[in-house]
């Protein structure tokens, strides 16, 4: 599904990624761990199509060269990034945003726009699964939401937009234990053999709930170690010093 070959990235002439390789197949859950400044969020941003990075190397998504696609086209093709810091958008109603987003993706795929009734039903169902009060959805997007509410809102968007590849950038940071469990349940219930996850995290605790197939250690812009779920437990004990 996602094939990254020898990816390099620079910001203002500073090298952040230095030849990163990663292959993700449908049905897999990958976790990327690594110390601060190792390039985790840069990888997520580049995959989402954020401007400001000079890149070399190749990223293919379902066989298509990602660099040819704009941010919105990537989303329309099924890439979803749950932001580390979801943005507050004043004056934009959450429900209107969700619907515009879903319809943009449907339109791009040549599908019909969703009607009001079906949309409301869908949102109601998905938000209740995540324990999101419906009142939130009539509020301005992320404005005045707590950290946890923002993160839950990201997962809600994921469940409504149904991406093929979901990238979770430190979705666990700022979550209390209950919220962490709800978010993890949200991910687990969405997971199936056709979609895949790339989870970026600092801590093992999220991986206690979402079991990864692979854990990669990122250091100085490169994957320096790949292992299974056991690797996370080991990292928790020993830290990153053995790998960097």
């Amino acid at each position: 599904m996602l094939n990254i070959k020898n990816l390099e990235a620079k910001v203002d002439n500073k090298h952040i990624l230095n030849g990163l390789n990663l292959d993700i197949k449908p049905g897999e859950v990958h976790a990327i761990m690594g110390p601060n400044g190792s390039g985790k969020s840069t990888l997520a941003n580049i995959l989402s199509g954020k401007n400001g990075y000079k890149t070399k190397g190749e990223i293919k998504f379902d066989g298509q060269n990602l660099s040819e696609l704009s941010t919105e086209e990537r989303a329309q093709k099924g890439i979803f990034l749950a932001f580390q810091y979801p943005l507050e958008i004043p004056g934009v109603n959450t429900n209107v945003f969700l619907r515009t987003s879903l319809n943009s993706i449907r339109k791009a795929r040549g599908e019909k726009e969703i009607d009001t009734l079906s949309f409301l039903k869908l949102v109601k169902e998905k938000s209740s699964e995540l324990g999101i009060d419906e009142k939130f959805l009539s509020r301005q997007l992320n404005v005045g939401f707590s950290g946890g509410e923002k993160k839950k809102n990201e997962i809600l968007q994921m469940k409504i937009l149904q991406p093929k590849l979901a990238i979770l950038d430190e979705t666990d940071s700022g979550l209390d234990i209950d919220a962490l469990r709800i978010v993890a349940d949200g991910v687990n219930s969405y997971k199936n053999k056709d979609n895949a996850f790339l989870i970026i995290t600092h801590y093992q605790r999220l991986l206690d709930y979402i079991k990864p197939d692979f854990i990669h250690v990122l250091s100085k812009g490169k994957i320096v170690k790949t292992g299974n779920a056991e690797l996370g437990i080991e990292l928790e004990k020993t830290g990153y010093t053995n790998f960097i």
């Binding site: 199509g49 919105e72 990537r74 958008i89 934009v92 945003f97 879903l102 943009s104 968007q157």
Partner: protein, 414 residues
Amino acid sequence: MKNFYNFKVNNIKGLSAQEKEFRNKELDLFSKNGFPNRREEAWKFTDLNTILSKNFANIKNDYISLNEKKFELIKEFDHNYLFVLDGNLVSNEFKFEDKNKVLIKDYDYKNQISASNQNSLNLLNNALATGGYYLEISKDYKFKKPLVVYNHFSESIKEQIISYKNSLILNENSELTIFNYTDTNSKNNFFVNSFDYLKLKKDSNLKNIFLNKERCNCYFHSYLKNDLEQNTNLDNYILSTGLKFNKTDIEINLNEEHAKSSIFSALSLGSEEHQEIKTSINHNFKNCQSYQKIKNVLNDQSTGVYQGKIFVKQEAQKTDAYQLSKALLLNDNAEFDAKPELEIYADDVKCSHGSTSGSIDLNSIHYLKSRGIPEKEAYQMLINGFLSEILEKLPENDLKRFLIKKIGRQINGY
């Protein structure tokens, strides 16, 4: 230098000798300095003399309004209406109201009320105004539906000044929402110079909304003088996008206790449009409140100006006054000028002001795009969101939905 205007009181028919004398005196006072330029503090950011001289060859005041053009009513919500053509009250309908509670007639120029500060455009208005309406709402009467004032201008007006005065009196404990809807799409250049007097008597409540229907090549200056008595509430919503030039000069006098006023504005300007909102909020009595929030979205080479003055008299203790202006600049050639002014003589007051301007947040654009929303739509969503906050305080109804839709349409030109 050749003058780009030629105004004559004699062009106005049916004036008494006394009226003529008054008007000629006012015209002489105007002519001393002519149209204001940026050397005058009140026109610091809006050099009207230069703007008009660039866009007009010879402005006259001899247009005779003829065609009683048919007009289209808004279908989206029930309303009463006044139809005003070229400043003249042509017809009215109050089918949702008790007609005995509404007095509507032509403006009576025998009792002209002038603005308290005699700026030159008000002098010019005194000299040349004709037409306009006088509207009075009876004591204790609350309007069931909004009143739409259709302000239409004939397409044949060209190189003309149109001047008129209106007056609106809300008697004790009455209530009204008035929607001033300027619907002209004239390609010709003309200048409108209007003066509105509003009086809110004790316990009355007025929402005064201004919106333009289309883009047009018109130059507007309107002066709104508002006198507020005890326990009154006045909310202004200025959404007059689309005019080539517009300066709305609002004077609000909070004359008795617990008078409350607000000014909300959402403007989206493009091409070389120039719009200014100038306010003078006079806290003349204790325990009054005023609130101003002005939002501009500026594209191309447009200019937005906000000059907001809060004046607090010595006896106006416990004043609560607030003003904030925010501008979103979409183009390096667009300009926003803000000048807050506080003049406070009382010592127990709460007054605050602020002004920000900036460009659109690209991280927010990226966020919306990452959800599949195309770039153009993402921009529109942010702009719309920025402006729609202004309408938040309006009650949820068809009028509000109509306004939101109109604002959206104006932005979609982006």
